[in-house]
Symmetry: C2
Subunit: 295 residues, 2 copies
């Protein structure tokens, strides 16, 4: 997905949010703002938004010297999501359709996205859970997803944000005992989940966790590690969470299932749904790519 001009106000807001998280110095905020504006003036709009996001957050790290501005807030969301986890797991266990309930809860976790909003409250997350459990699902791919899950033997689950990944655990546990590999970002960017966040979510030891080697808030295939790319090509089911992964993978040459809340009008327009929709969408080839033998 290309970057829309409407993404620009969001990039500038995101840059300010991050600058303010790491410094109280007005001069640092201004320096970040000016450099991000200069970058944005020259940006390649043919690239998806996470490529621009990646470059913006590189600037923020360079100016501030802070590698992970969102660390504290990621830990806060992880703690909060873990406090909800037992009751959510119970809701999955007691539901008539465990897979659908787990899908909806995984999407509820996608509310925790500081790329789109400057601040997210615990109340908003709890409200998100109730909304996602009862709302209509857009994207029309839930039944196709169910079929693929039933026949899959090697699932790649591309995670999105810290805290959200606790909600993903509910779905991952429904996908098992089929082997699930969870992909996280290679470096901190916004509040995206890294290996540390996946481990804090309790996924360590339950699934294989691989990091993609990239610092983009999405999955840029030209940017990820060769190993991650191989796993992406070979998995017989790829599940990608959240907007950043949709923006970078919706047009790639293999089948991918996208689970997300469409939080901004640019994404909603691309998907063909209303802003705020609960989305289970399928993109790419009708069948997974033929998998060659592992080396």
């Amino acid at each position: 997905m290309k970057t829309a001009l409407d993404c620009i106000p969001c990039f500038t807001r995101q840059a300010l949010d991050a600058a303010r998280m790491v410094s109280t110095e007005a001069s640092v905020h201004e320096d970040v703002a000016r450099r991000v504006l200069a970058l944005a003036a020259e940006m390649d709009f043919a690239q998806p938004p996470p490529v621009v996001g990646r470059d913006i957050h590189r600037i923020i790290r360079a100016v501030t010297g802070v590698v992970d501005p969102y660390r504290d807030i990621k830990e806060r969301f992880t703690r909060f999501a873990l406090s909800l986890y037992p009751s959510l797991a119970e809701r999955v266990a007691n539901s008539d359709d465990r897979l659908e309930t787990a899908v909806r809860l995984a999407i509820a976790g996608n509310v925790i996205d500081l790329g789109v909003e400057s601040d997210i409250t615990e109340e908003a997350i709890e409200r998100g859970v109730e909304e996602m459990l009862s709302g209509r699902i857009a994207g029309a791919a839930l039944e196709a997803f169910r079929e693929r899950v039933a026949e899959a033997s090697d699932i790649l689950y591309i995670a999105d944000n810290a805290g959200e990944i606790v909600f993903d655990r509910l779905l991952i546990e429904e996908l098992q005992p089929t082997p699930v590999t969870v992909v996280v970002r290679g470096h901190p960017v916004i509040n995206d989940a890294t290996r540390a966040d996946a481990e804090a979510a309790g996924l360590d030891g339950r699934v294989e966790i691989i990091d993609n080697g990239s610092d983009a808030p999405g999955t840029v295939l030209t940017d990820i590690s060769p190993e991650c790319r191989r796993r992406f090509d070979r998995a017989d089911l790829v599940i990608a969470k959240g907007q950043g992964n949709y923006e970078t993978l919706s047009e790639v040459d293999r089948e991918v299932f996208f689970l997300l809340k469409a939080k901004c009008p640019v994404i909603a327009d691309d998907i063909g749904c209303e802003t705020g929709s609960i989305v289970v969408a399928k993109r790419g080839a009708e069948r997974p790519q033929a998998a060659g033998p592992l080396e």
Copy 2:
């Protein structure tokens, strides 16, 4: 008032809005966006937002060749406001406190501000009228305003937007028979009122209309015509409508009464009120400047 870094996302959105109003060409939108970003990267944040706004809208005019992108929408708002005018005038006439009701309705007109929102519906304007008539007034200057109006002999009324100026007419009619001079922008910028908009609002022949000679969406004292500046210094009561006039005049060295809806957090923070507040605020010297004789 200085420009806040938080104004940047708003500037970029405003530029896009304007570019889209005058052209359906994606390349024109992109060209405007890039130039505005490059300008913003170098901007002087010590200047008030309307100075940056002025420069942005100069770029839009230069790129598109369109002098008044908002002309159609200004005419639409003027027509709509005129359709409301008879019933609003009746509400003023039937109210216990005509001046306060007229002040509240003038502020209701300030909802019509495309500097802050991309789109404003007729329903939002009607809702604004009811909200402004019943809500609490922030800024604590209504009684001081009432006193100044009672003793004024030369009122300068600095208008803000097209359509809004129809609402201003309700207040201007309450201020009369004291002579009122209405100041409009010298050139079209966003949906700010120019002489044509003041005339279309029915003010022609009822008051003196002067334009300020400037193309800023506010009142930049170093930018306005000498005649307008003289009138500003000499008037014994200056009323300034809307955010752009507040941003440019709140720190000048004379008493000014500001009537506006605080539509964004940056303004609300400066005023010391909640976003969305109905504001009647006084700034500047306690008494009007001593007026020298007119030449």
